[in-house]
């Protein structure tokens, strides 16, 4: 099928449309709103056979989404940033209900200070919520990942909800060519949702989300969630194989870019990885053997795939577009933890923090990252967390501070 130009948001809406969802509870928030606007229009016209309902908050929206899913409907919803956090307790509830819905999060930095542009503190705050997480780099991948997400979530070995993440502005509002999969082929990839053990009905009463007394039951059910999330590694591989066979595009847990002979590897996620790949090309043009590892599936954590990709490297830099104040980069910690038991681990592991709240990642900064990472590899000593802030940004901020204090 021919490609169409569309934004990441519209690609997300197409993902839900092609997944033939039954129910879409919605609440607007920038930069996600375009997704639910498109779906509302399609539902109104009868082009999507789903019930669309405007809810009173993201907290209510996620509750309705989970409740509908455990009643037996295929559910889609979307949010962003403050909305995700407003729904936070519900995320834990519905993963505990084992409601295999798909939630698209359009990453946006968290207040305060309030802003609209992207970083990953919102979605990574939900990393322990029992949702699986797929982080997409391109508009095509957003659509494809939603289809894969339903197939993985609804697998009997998994039965957990999935967040598909895309970057606000840089991807949500950027138009790229997207190939729309044929609906008949999608049905072959993603069979109708007919859960064998979910669904409230008169003839099959059951209680869900009930209280437990004491840790014995609690721990049992939480362990089940962990084991199910681990199962998703294998289920993802099967889904990726099937998707590749049907549509010709392949998505693995992680994506390597020019890794074959790379000395030093930059680790990134989401749309920013496109800039990282360009920086790898630039470094290679100068004769430096750089490569990039893009983490695509964040939950379950693909530890083995990461070890496989980073084994025997001179140095690795994790560029986190998030900041855990008082700690540093969130993904740096997780990468470090999974390399600890790797005997042939990189000689140095470096942590860089950049791209917060839509902050630019400049070519110069990427160049500095590769240079400092190479030096760290030679010295055999890691680095960071380094808070990226260019001289130009410093000048601009100094000027703004003068304006704010009335001294401009």
């Amino acid at each position: 099928m021919d490609s169409q130009m569309m934004t990441g948001n519209l690609a997300a809406a197409w993902g839900a449309r092609l997944a033939d969802v039954d129910y879409i509870p919605a609440f607007p928030i920038t930069p996600q709103t375009e997704i639910v606007e498109a779906l509302a229009k399609w539902c109104e016209r009868g082009e999507v056979a789903a019930t669309f309902v405007s809810m009173d908050s993201e907290h209510s929206m996620m509750t309705a989404a989970g409740a509908a899913e455990v009643t037996g409907a295929r559910v889609f919803t979307a949010t962003s940033s403050q909305g995700l956090l407003h729904a936070f307790e519900v995320l834990y509830s519905i993963s505990g209900w084992r409601a295999p819905l798909v939630l698209v999060n359009v990453s946006r930095a968290l207040a305060a200070p309030i802003t609209l542009e992207s970083d990953h503190n919102d979605v990574l705050a939900a990393r322990d919520a029992g949702f699986l997480q797929i982080h997409a780099e391109t508009c095509q991948e957003v659509l494809d990942s939603i289809l894969m997400a339903y197939r993985i979530a609804e697998d009997e070995r998994v039965m957990l909800p999935v967040i598909v993440n895309l970057d606000g502005f840089t991807l949500s509002f950027t138009r790229e060519p997207v190939s729309l999969p044929d609906p008949d082929m999608v049905r072959r990839f993603l069979p109708p949702f007919r859960p064998s053990h979910l669904g409230f009905a008169a003839s099959s009463p059951h209680a869900l989300g009930v209280a437990v007394i004491g840790g014995t039951s609690y721990a049992y059910f939480r362990h089940q969630m962990h084991l199910a999330a681990q199962n998703a590694l294998e289920v993802h591989r099967e889904a990726a194989d099937s998707f590749h066979a049907l549509f010709g595009r392949r998505y693995d847990l992680v994506e390597g870019y020019r890794l074959e002979d790379a000395d030093d590897v930059l680790v990134m996620t989401n749309a920013g990885a496109s800039k990282g790949k360009a920086a790898v090309d630039a470094a290679r043009a100068q004769g430096k053997r750089g490569g990039l590892l893009r983490l695509r599936v964040i939950r379950p954590w693909p530890a083995e795939a990461i070890r496989e990709a980073l084994r025997d490297r001179r140095a690795v830099a994790v560029l986190d577009q998030n900041l855990a104040p008082g700690q540093g980069g969130i993904l740096y910690q997780e990468v470090a933890a999974c390399l600890y038991h790797e005997a042939r681990r990189p000689r140095a592991l470096c942590s860089f923090i950049g791209g917060l709240g839509g902050q630019n990642l400049s070519e110069g900064e990427f160049q500095a990252i590769f240079e400092q990472t190479a030096e760290a590899g030679v010295a055999g000593r890691g680095l960071g967390p380094v808070l990226l802030y260019s001289a130009e940004e410093h000048r601009e901020m100094t000027h703004l501070q003068m304006v704010a204090t009335g001294n401009a």
Binding site: S60, A64, A73, F200, P205, A207
Partner: protein, 312 residues
Amino acid sequence: MWQRETFKKIKQIPREEHVMPGTALCAGCGGLEALRLAAKVLGDHVVYVNAAGCFTMLAAYPYSSFKGSWLYTTMGSAPAGAQGIRDALDVLIAKRRLPKSEDLKVIVLGGDGSTYDMALSATSGAMNRQLDFYYICYDNEAYGNTGMQLSPATPYAARTATSPCSLQHPAATMQEKKDIFEIWRAHRPPYIATVAPRYPLDLEEKFARAATFTGPKMFLALAACPTGWLYDPGATPEVAKLAVETGLWPLKEAVNGVVTHTYIPKRKPVEAYLRLQGRFRHLFEPTVQTDAIRHIQERVDAYWQQAAQEQA
């Protein structure tokens, strides 16, 4: 004049039980008695959507008190859970993936903490969307499951763990009880009613009447609470009766916004009700707080004067 049509005699109340005995709730729970009576009309083809509160313990693994279904949600969003279930049932029935015979009544259970405070926005949203569901608030006038702290449903002069009586506040709670009935009524749901467990025919009749309406069916149930109000569990019927007979808990309904009082009490002095409960004991010992008691009486009198005017 309001008259019962379906339930005229106590014998007409079905004997079959739908809320099983042996729950983990407190002995003498007035809220549970209201639910037990309500379930006799609601039946077993139901899904209860529970908000965090005392009733959470009605389904504690591996037991459930119901022959119907149950979903525990959160304190702030049970009506949104009802929305998701109702919408999903409708879409599955419309798409012929679920036979109509499998349909369920969707019933929210929330305490006054959830209802008056945290879930007010979710409830407002559900009413505004004209969701076809039941809402049962079991109102024991405080955050009960956490040990009786002040809620917006706590009446003036009731002592709670977070509104103790002190030299500065000898009457304890200074606020007046939030009027959730009128807040609900502003949304114009087709049916709203207050009920009390000591008035079973009035209660059953209201649930039977509610069943004839599509849309939000809102119930405010007096949950006389021996544990929190500090009286002997055996006295729940008497406390619940006096709440109504003093006029403090008016039995009424609003059909499409039009209010009718379903029982006009002769109005015993409020003292008779207050004296039964430890939470009001400071009004009588060590000295009688005449002003506080008079204030409560005056507000009840004013309420019923206004009700009489509106009725006339």
